[in-house]
Structures are given as structure tokens and as C-alpha cells.
């Protein structure tokens, strides 16, 4: 998965093959139409932003990609294979990881243990061995711990390694959650408002981590974000949703100049 990172220019790692394609997807909850016939694609190695006003269907879209919701119409093609009915754990085992809009960590557990849970799918030793915590199970844990320690180093959270996450400030909890998602070594990382509620410095840190993950690990990312400055700086391409419909798709510069997008955000005088 790191193979195609090398040829990226300084402008960003855009323009790989299509990794995930969403085609004419519609989703409704009873009478509420959350998503109406949306199509877009995510290319390998890019940072794809999904933006839109409140209630535009952004998080629903992530949930569809993640396999949490089943669209009533439309198809999703991931790595060349069209998806059947989907469950989140299958998505996870196929290399899709995500973080949540509201931090969803195990509050009583330490940072280290929380990130370790991200390795669950990759642990194979049976319960018996695990309980003994000896021999092969220990060797396996050491191997996984190494990966986790690299993530801790990457995200610069050494100082809170053993702190229960419930005690951490919000910005750091977000970082731990990102760490847990990274522990899965995902190919596609879905970030739901990674910078909500952060101050400027925390946002800058998080932006740097997102860029570094993308550049260094070659991870493809889809992110929902409200801070326009962040979106325009980070993303390679942006898709804009409004009332469940796609109203624009393209590079940040193109999207920013689109009249429909401006109207959606600022409202239109009737």
C-alpha cells in the first residue's frame, strides 16, 4: 500500500487509481431522505474532503462507506469489487478505519490500551493462550505493542501513554482516537470532524498529523470538516453535499468559487 506514494509530487499525493466508488447512492430513514443519488469516488492516496452545511448528509455518507448503513439504492465499489450487504466489521477487516464526531474511546482505559484495541482484528492467538499470556500469545502482544509504540511516537503522545483517556483534554482524546484508527493499519481512513472543538494550535497539530499520515504511510483519507481553511489546505479534492445531494465536486479552488456552494453555505436571498 505504500508503493504508489513515491511518485507523489510536492502538491500532494493525488491521482492514484480509483479505490472506492460511490454510485447513485440513496439513503432514507422512513420519510427522511438523508442521501439522494450521490455519486463520487475516492482515489488511492488522496485526501478527499466531504463538506456541507449541517444536516447535509455527510456523516450518513461516512456511515454508508463504513458499512454501518445500507443504502436503499445505488452501489459501492471498493477496491474493484462491488459490495454486497455490509457490516462494519467486514469493512474494518477490509482496511477501512474511522474516527467519530463525538470521541468514542474506552474512558477508563489507558491511551496505550485504547490504541491496542485497534489491533484486535490482527490478533490471532486463541483465548487460552491469551489468558496464559505466555509463549506465542506474549510474542504476539510484543509484536503488536511495537506497532502501537510507533503510533504513539508518531502522534507524540508518549507523555500520556499510561494516562486513562477519561482524564485527558478533548484535543488529546481526538488524537488517541486517531491513534486507535491508525493501529488498524488502514488503507482508507474516515475522519469525522477530526478538528471539531479544537483551538488553533491543536488544529495545526492535527493538520500536520493528517498530512504526515497521508504522505508517510500512504493512507487514503476521507474527512468531514467544517473549518474551511483546514479543508482547503489539506484536501486534494472536495465533494460538497447539501440536503443529501451532491452540489459540487472538484479541487478546493474550483469548489470554493462555485456559486451553488456559496449559496448553500451563506443562504440565498429569495
Amino acid at each position: 500500500m505504500k508503493a504508489d506514494v513515491g511518485q507523489m509530487g510536492a502538491a500532494g499525493p493525488a491521482a492514484g487509481a480509483v479505490m472506492l466508488e460511490v454510485k447513485d447512492v440513496s439513503l432514507s430513514f422512513g420519510g427522511v431522505k438523508a442521501i439522494r443519488g450521490v455519486s463520487f469516488d475516492i482515489k488511492r492516496g488522496e485526501i478527499r474532503a466531504i463538506i456541507g452545511p449541517n444536516g447535509a448528509g455527510k456523516t450518513s455518507m461516512l456511515n454508508v462507506i463504513n458499512g454501518f448503513y445500507h443504502p436503499q439504492a445505488g452501489t459501492i465499489t471498493y477496491k474493484g469489487a462491488q459490495r454486497e450487504k455490509m457490516r462494519p466489521y467486514i469493512a474494518a477487516s477490509q482496511g477501512i478505519a474511522r474516527t467519530f464526531q463525538n470521541v468514542a474511546l474506552f474512558k477508563g482505559m489507558s491511551t496505550l490500551d485504547n490504541i491496542m484495541t485497534g489491533r484486535t482484528l490482527k490478533m490471532h492467538k486463541g483465548l487460552g493462550w491469551q489468558m496464559l499470556r505466555y509463549g506465542p500469545a506474549m510474542a504476539e502482544e510484543v509484536r503488536h505493542r511495537e506497532v502501537v509504540e510507533k503510533i504513539i511516537d508518531f502522534l507524540e503522545i508518549e507523555a500520556i501513554r499510561k494516562t486513562p483517556v477519561g482524564k485527558l483534554p478533548y484535543g488529546l482524546q481526538k488524537r488517541v482516537e486517531l491513534g486507535r484508527a491508525l493501529a488498524m493499519e488502514p488503507e482508507l481512513l474516515l475522519l469525522d470532524e477530526p478538528m471539531a472543538g479544537m483551538n488553533l494550535e491543536e488544529k495545526q497539530d492535527m493538520s500536520r498529523f493528517i498530512i504526515d499520515i497521508n504522505r508517510q504511510m500512504g493512507t487514503t483519507m476521507a474527512l468531514i470538516e467544517h473549518d474551511m481553511g483546514v479543508v482547503m489546505d489539506l484536501s486534494d479534492r472536495v465533494v460538497v453535499l447539501d440536503y443529501g445531494q451532491k452540489i459540487a465536486d472538484g479541487t478546493p479552488a474550483v469548489v470554493q468559487a462555485d456559486q451553488k456552494v456559496i449559496d448553500a453555505y451563506l443562504g440565498v436571498a429569495h
Binding site: 508518549e158 507523555a159 504526515d212
Partner: protein
Amino acid sequence: MPVCPISQKFIASETIDLRIACIAALRSLHSYSKIARGVPHRRAWEENNLSDPLLSTPATPLLDTVPKLLIRNASIHADRPAFREKAFGIWQTWTWAQTLDEIRALSIGLYVLGLKRGETLAIIGDNRPRLYWAFTAAQAIGAVPVPVYQDSVADEMAYVLGHAETAFAIAENQEQVDKVQSITARVPTLRYISYCDPRGLKDYDHKQLKSYEDIQEIGRQELRRNPGLDAWWRGEIDIGRGSDISVMLYTSGTTGKPKGVMLSHENVVVSGVNANLFDRYTADDTMIAYLPMAWVGDHIFSYGQAFAAGICVACPESPDTAVADRTEIGPSSFFAPPRVFENMLTQILVRMEDAGPTKKALFQYFLTVAKRAGEKRLNGESIPATDRLLYWIGDKLVYAPLRNRMGLSKLRVAYTAGEAIGPELFSFFRALGVNLKQLYGQTEASVFITLQPDGEVYPETVGKPGPGVVIKIDNNGEVLFKSPGVFQKYYKNDEATAETKTADGWVRTGDAGFIDTRGHLCIIDRAKDVGRLNNGAIFAPKYLENRLKFFPEVKEAVAFGHGRDHVSMFVNIDLVTVGNWAERNNVIYSSYQELAAHPDVKKMIEKRVDELNASLAKEPRVAASQIHRFMILPKELDADDGELTRTLKVRRAFIADRYQPFIKAFYDGSARASIRTEVTFEDGRKGMIEGSADIVDMQPHAIMPREPARIMEAAE
């Protein structure tokens, strides 16, 4: 009242030729382990001075540069740990042999890339073994390392790198590389930037940029290709002389532009050797390196001393984890400014507040035992058998666990310096069995000027001159010194060098002080802030204020006396301590003003001022500064009103101006004075308050010097 002229004859031992002292110290390196164990340090030093036939030819060459020490360590301490660094949660260790290997590869790599003898190499980052190696790697081939404060902004960095005409820069990570790259235009001499951590630097233009490992790889390849290279490299080290410049340390530049202090190898090595002798450090010791590498203290402790004795230097995982890492490492020596110790104490007290009743009771009880017996024990004085037993139990139950918590379990000695430390704080740590001592030094001295010897630790002094150091006080009260650590000169600033170094080799510290009857140096103030009373006696306001502020009831104090007949003082009470007292004694008050005017409060402060006067009376140099009159200000000094700086330092001139009527009353004999002054409320509105306060007259103590000590010893 006789006032001692300050010009002191403390120069007694000028007979010590510093050069000879240096050589003796360097010689002692060979028989170091013998000296370091067993023989009391002072004797060890003297023995070396006397018994070593200085002029005879040595059996082994002088170990007068750091790279030479590296070669020695790699042979006699080959398999012992030299550096540790926590990475990925695990302590990684490099032995001295491995360290030599790493340094040699880097050194040759740098040479191949064109680093020449005499050129400078900037080192920027947190404490990392790789960065420490960069020092030696550069020194081995005759280049001069210049560490830069890692938190300096690009502008400051541009000045230092430009001034030092840096040819190479080794930066820790992307953050530092970004800073250096943003200033390359202002540093035309810069040819290469190297980085240790490749993270985020992948897409950078690598024309000028080289990773640390790539440089080492260049060196290793050359070594493989050319087997004679190792001998050549060792030859380069042999060319080095103790008098060569080993490092350039830029002063932080709080006043004006930073100055590049040039230290020779001899400065660094001899200072390291002396400090090791003084506190008996050996290769069995471990230090934790967490203070900025650009600061002279770290350079001498974690580099000079470490290489001189083969001490293992442990680098924390990140600056934030330094405390946890210290607990894991358990260093045998520890240096920290007073506020670090203050934080430790606060943390202990806060945690004890939350502890269960049994623990609390134990802590309280054994703390009183410690206060009674702990410090005496540390000073080697005799204590009653019951106290000895109680202290032993207390150590098992309370003190040892506390020390462990702070990471000071294996500690032999802790030092603090930089600012005045409160005697309570100082005694607290000493009572717990932490051998906390003070030292006084500066960059220009390769740190050490004075240190407190074991058994002679007094909170109000900074100790006796270190090995080979001679001090004297000039007519203005300024402290001057000569030592083996005296810097060579300021880089490209002969004017400043001439101002600081006198023609006959003394260095001006810029600090005013005096030598007390025990031969200890007391630093009282910056020399330029020191004034004189009308009778010619020295008047050091900050010294008096600090001494009074050590009492918990006093929050702020401002002394007046320059050009006056006697000293008088404004006092601000501490609302927390005094308020607490008021609560316990049913004293009802509604404001600071009311509490400050309470007669019992006045008595309380009067008692404290009297205590201070009593202790001043014992020091001939400051006895004339006893406080004759004081007043508790009816208003708290406040930064919002411009009375304090934002860092809470007293703005003396401003206060003198605003409270003019009070000062007038001090010196015209009135018993009461009043004032109308403007205040700024917390919401920013301004208002006038009127206040008046009584002036309290003090009865000065008769001057009673301690029994005349053998003063000459001070300058041994």
C-alpha cells in the same frame, strides 16, 4: 558602626597557578577511579595537586580534549553504558564502544562532506544521544560545535547562526529544519542541514539536506573502503590540544544581543574533572539530561563530566515525559532550578491532601521527625538515638517512597542554582534525605564558581569556591573570579571581552556579593542594582527583599536606602497565609486594607523583620542594612497598576514615585502617613483609593559577627 571596606584580600591563594591546576586535574584522569572511591574529595584534590610531579613526563598522553576522553572511555569502559534514550517506550542503550563507532562514522561523514578544522557546526534540538555525539564528531576533526536553544524563534536562530558563521547545522526534526531553512538567506556560510528524525521531511528538497544516518553511512562506507581511515581519524584527535576552542555557547541575551562564549577543551574537561572529584562521580553513575543543550550547565554536566568520568547519560523520551523517565532511571545526580523543586513540593502536598487519614497522619508525624533530625543527619551532626530510630522508620514508611516517587531514590546529590531558593523549601528536601545543595556559576566560568561542600550547606549562601577557583570582591561589591574554567573570549566581540575579563585575568560576574565569616559566598544582587547608604555601607535591595519574602507572611517587599541614612521597607502581607491566621484567630476583616492595618498583623510582621535584622547583624557586610523603619502598604502591589512587571518583579522606581509621601515620612520621622492613589480594578475601571498606614520603628541589633573564621580558607 564600623563598615568593612569591601575590597577584600581573599586572593590569598593566588599562588595556585591555574595552569598547573589544570594539568594536575587532567593527570588525575588516569588514576581517576582510584581517587573517586574512598578518598575524601577535598583530600583527593589536594593530593593530586601536591603529589603529582607536574613537570615529569607523563606515562600516558594528556587527556586534554573530549574526543581523547572518548577514545579512553571506549577502551576502558567499552561495554559499559554511555548513553541511554527512551524510544518506543523502551530504554535503548549504547555502550562506550558503540558510541565511539557512531561518532566516528558521523565524524568521517562530516569530513567527507567538507566540514573543515575551525569551522562551526550548529546543533539544534532536545537532549538526544545523536546530538551529543555530534559535538564529539565535530570536535574530533577540529570543528567547533555551537548548540542553539531549541525553542529560539527563527530570528534569534538567524542571529546566532549568522554570527557564528555556521557551515553545517544538525537539527533534531522537521520543526527545527523548517526554522533553519527559513533563515538560510541570512546565513550565507551554511552548506548543509542534517536532521535526525526524517518524519515529514520526505518531500523536502534534499540538495542541502542530509539525514544524520546518511552522513554516518558515508563515513561507514569510507571506513570499509579504506582501512587506514580509523588510524587517520585517531591521528586527527591527537592533533587536538587542550587550548583549542571546543565549543561556543551563546548567552541567552536577556540584555542585548547574545554573546558567543568560547570555551576551550581544557575549560570543559577540567571543569568536568573537578566537579567529578568534588562530588565523587564515577562510571557507575547515571545522569538524566533534560535541560537545554545550549545551556552551559547541561554542556558541563551531561557532556564534560559525563565524558570525563564515563558517566551514563540518559535522555528522556520527550520533554513532557522527563519526570516519569527520571523515576525509571533513578539518576545519581540531578540539577534543577528552584521552581522545579517548588513544583515537586506542591505536588507532594496536593497529593497528601487527597490521601487517606492514616497516610496523612503518618506523613505529618514523620515530617516533623524529618524536620527535627533529617538535616542534622545529612550534615553529619549527632542526633539522639530515639530520633535516629524514628528517622529510620520514617525512611522506610515515608521518605524513601516519596523520594522514589520523585525519581530521586538513587540520588547522591542534587543541585539548584539560578535564583534564590526559600530556606523552607531547601530544608524540606534536605530533611527527606535529598542532598540538595546550591552552586553558583555562569557560562563564562564553565559553570562552577562556588559550590556547597557536603556538611557545609547553608540556604543563604552559594557555597565555597570550587576546586581551583579563586574569588575576590572589588570595591563596588562585584564578585570576580579566576578559575580553570575561565572562557577564552567572546566570539567576534573583543570589546565585551575586555569589559568582562580584566587585564590580569579576573572575570567580572556582574553580580554583587560578599564572603561571609565562614568563607561562603553570598550573592546579593546584580552589581548595577546595588547602591550605598550615606555612611558608605553597601545597600542591596533585592537581597533584603528576598530574605524577608522567605517568610510566608510576606508576599512582597520593597527596600529603600540608596543615598539615605538607613534602610526602610514597604511590605505587602500574603493574603493566603495571613488570612488563614485571621480565620484561626477569629480576626474579622473585609479587605486587604483592613487586614493589613490590624495591630496583630503589624506585630507579626514586626517580629519577622526583627528576625531578619538579627540575622543581618551577624553578617558584617550587610549589618548596616538592618531595617530601621517599615510600613505595611495599605494596597497590594499589582501589575495592573504598573507596580510590578508582568513577570511579577518589583518596579522600584515607579513605586518610589507613586508612594513618595510614604517614603518622605520614612525619613522625616513621622509615625503615620497617608496617600491618595489611583488603582485599576479587575474589570479595568480606575478609581482612587485613600490609604494611610503606621510606620513601625525597629530597634537595630548590635553587630555580632560569628566567631572569626579562618578567612583565608575561603580562597583555597
